[in-house]
Symmetry: C2
C-alpha cells in the first residue's frame, strides 16, 4: 500500500514529566495543589481501555501515547508511516479560563518536553506548538519562540467553548501564518454540542462534528481567512462526512445574508477549498463509489488528509479506513499529497 502521512498522533506526558521544563514558581500547582486538567465529560466510556486502545497502554496501566517504543511498534513500523504529526494532550485552550498564567507556562514546558522526548527522537515525528488561547498575545509569543525549530509544523488549538473566529484570537492566526504553520483545531473531551451533555456517550460521540462546523463558520464569517489569506487550518478528529452539508448551507446563507459580513469576499465553499482541511478520522464505512461521490460534493479532492488518531480507542487503521477499489490517484492524495500540500514546512524525505 501507499506510504502515508499521519496527521493525528497523540503523545502524552505525565504532569510530573513537565516539572524540569517548568519555571519553579509554578511547580506547586503540580507538587502541592494536585492540579488536574478539567474534563467535563460525564460518561463512563464504554470501551475496555477507556478512551485509549486497550493494547496501547504501556504495562496495561499508563495512558496510551506515553511510550515512544510502543508508538514505533504499533504505528510507525507496523504501517510504514512516512511522517507523523504529533497532536499531544493537555491543551489549555479546551479548559476553563482559570489559572491562565500557569497554563500558559505549562504549555511552554509541554512544548519543550515534546521536542526533547519525541520530535528529536525519531526523524518521522513532527511537532505542534501547544498554546493557551485564553491569552492570545502570550500564545503568539510562544508560537514565535517555537517556530524557529524546523520540525514544528503546526499550532494546536483544542476545542472547548471558545469560538475561535472572534478578533481576540487574531494574534494566534497571525503568528501561525507568519511562520507558515498550519493551525490544527482538534476535538477534546470538552467538545460541546448544541444540547449539551446528552445522556449517553454514543450520543455525544455522534454529535462531535457539530463543534467543527461551528468553528469553521466562526472563522469564515468573522473574516479570519480574508485577513490571513495564506493561513491554512485543519480540523482534526471530527471526520469529514459533514463537509458537503457545511458548504451548501454556508454558501446559501452567504448568498442571502452577506451584507451582514461585508469583509467576507469569497463564498464559504471557496474559502473552505482554498484554506481549510479535514483530518479523516473517524471514518465511516462506505463503498468506494460512495466516498468518491462525497468527495465530489466537496468540489475538491484535496481537502481530506489521512489520520489514525493513535492511540485512541477508535483508531483508524490505514488498511481499513478507506474502502477498497478507490482510484489510485485519490488514495494517494488522501494518504500523502494533501497533507504535504497543507503542511508546507514538512521536508520531503530523501528516498
Amino acid at each position: 500500500m501507499t506510504r502515508f502521512i499521519d496527521v493525528d498522533v497523540h503523545e502524552r506526558a505525565a504532569l510530573e514529566d513537565l516539572l524540569p521544563y517548568l519555571d519553579p514558581v509554578w511547580h506547586k500547582y503540580i507538587t502541592q495543589y494536585g492540579w488536574i486538567p478539567d474534563r467535563f465529560l460525564p460518561y463512563s466510556q464504554p470501551t475496555a481501555g477507556g478512551l485509549d486502545r486497550a493494547d496501547a497502554k504501556p504495562d496495561g496501566v499508563r495512558p496510551g501515547g506515553s511510550d515512544l517504543g510502543l508508538l514505533r511498534e504499533q504505528l510507525l513500523d507496523e504501517y510504514d508511516v512516512e511522517q507523523a504529526i504529533l497532536t499531544g494532550w493537555l491543551n489549555a485552550s479546551s479548559m476553563q479560563e482559570g489559572w491562565t498564567e500557569f497554563k500558559t507556562a505549562l504549555m511552554s514546558a509541554y512544548n519543550d518536553w515534546q521536542l526533547e522526548h519525541w520530535v528529536e527522537q525519531d526523524e518521522r515525528l513532527f511537532g505542534s506548538v501547544h498554546v493557551n488561547a485564553w491569552d492570545p498575545e502570550a500564545a503568539a509569543r510562544e508560537i514565535d519562540r517555537m517556530a524557529s525549530h524546523p520540525r514544528i509544523v503546526q499550532v494546536m488549538l483544542y476545542i472547548g467553548d471558545q469560538a475561535f473566529g472572534a478578533p481576540r484570537y487574531h494574534p494566534i492566526f497571525e503568528a501561525a501564518a507568519r511562520h507558515d504553520l498550519v493551525v490544527g483545531i482538534h476535538h477534546s473531551e470538552n467538545s460541546p454540542t448544541a444540547l449539551g451533555r446528552h445522556r449517553y456517550f454514543v450520543e455525544w460521540h455522534t454529535l462531535v462534528p457539530q463543534v467543527f462546523m461551528s468553528q469553521a463558520v466562526s472563522l469564515i464569517f468573522n473574516g479570519v481567512f480574508d485577513r490571513f489569506p495564506d493561513l491554512r487550518v485543519i480540523l482534526i478528529e471530527g471526520g469529514f462526512t459533514y463537509v458537503p452539508h457545511l458548504i451548501w448551507t454556508a454558501d446559501q446563507q452567504y448568498k442571502e445574508l452577506r451584507h451582514e459580513v461585508p469583509w467576507v469576499k469569497r463564498t464559504p465553499g471557496r474559502i473552505i477549498r482554498e484554506q481549510l482541511r479535514f483530518a479523516s478520522q473517524p471514518t465511516v464505512e462506505m463503498t468506494g463509489a460512495q466516498l468518491e461521490t462525497l468527495i465530489g460534493q466537496m468540489g475538491s479532492d484535496e481537502l481530506v488528509c489521512f489520520s489514525t488518531d493513535y492511540p485512541h480507542w477508535d483508531f483508524d487503521s490505514p488498511h481499513e479506513a478507506l474502502p477498497p477499489g478507490l482510484p489510485e490517484d485519490l488514495t494517494r492524495k488522501i494518504f500523502l499529497d494533501n497533507a504535504r500540500a497543507t503542511y508546507r514546512r514538512l521536508p520531503v524525505p530523501v528516498a
Copy 2:
C-alpha cells in the same frame, strides 16, 4: 405544477387575542404583568421585515401570519396549495421553565384560538396541538383533549435547550402515537448551537441544523422510536442537507457502541427511514442531479416533505425551491405523497 401540501405555515396571535380562551386566574400575567415570551436571540435581524417577509406584515406593522386573508392571498390561492399544516407561534417548550402552569394554560388557550380563527375558517388548513413540554403529563392531557378534533394532525414541540429523548418526555410521544398524530419538532428563536451565541446572525442561521441532529440523536439512542414503533416525527425548519451525514455518523457509532444502548434494535439509518421525516425549508440552491444524489444518499426518497415557512423572511416558493429537471415522480413525492404518508390523519380531498 403539482399541487402541494405545505407542512410549515405560521399563524400568529397577539397575546390579548388569547384572553377569551384563558382561565381568568391567568389573565393578570398578560393584562398586568406584561408577560412576554423569552427570546434569547441577540441579533438585529438583517432583513427589511425582521424575521418576517416584509410584504407579509398586515398594514406593514403587525407580525406576519396574523391575517387569514393575507395568508390566503399570498399562499393558499397564489400557489394553489392543496393542504397546509399550521405550526403556530409561542410554543412554551422553547422557553425557560418558569411560570410553567401559566404556560400550560396559555397553550390550551392558543389551541382553542387556533381552531376557531384558522382551522375552522378554511378547509385547506389543519392544526397542531401546542403543548408545554416542561410539564409532560399536562402536555399529554392536552394532546388527548385536542386529538378529538378531526382537523388536528400534529403535536408541536419547539426547540429550546431540552433534548426530547429523555424518559420524562415519553408521555408526550406516547400520547401522539396513541392518536396517530405526527410530532413536529420545530426550530425556534431559542435554537442553541454547539458554541452558543455566535457574533453574527449569519453564523447562527447557518448552524441551525445542529440542534435538529441533536434531537434526532437524542430520540434514537434513548429508544423513543423503539418504544413507540408507530410514532412519526418530522423535523421542521432545519432543511435536509445534513441527513446523509447524520445517517453515516450515527450508523457508524451504533456499530461501535450499541452495547451502551441495547434497547436500540435497529440501525439509526433504518429508524430514520422508517419513522423520521424532514420538512424541506430552508432549501439550498443545487442542480437536479445534485438533489437526486443527496436523496440517494439518504437511502429513501420518502423522507423530505415540502414546506414554505410562510410568512418568514426566508420563505421558500414552490416555484423555485426545487431545481428544474427533477423527475416527476420525485417531485410529486416531495410536494405531496411524502406528507400524505406521514400525516395519516389528513383527509384526501375530494377531486
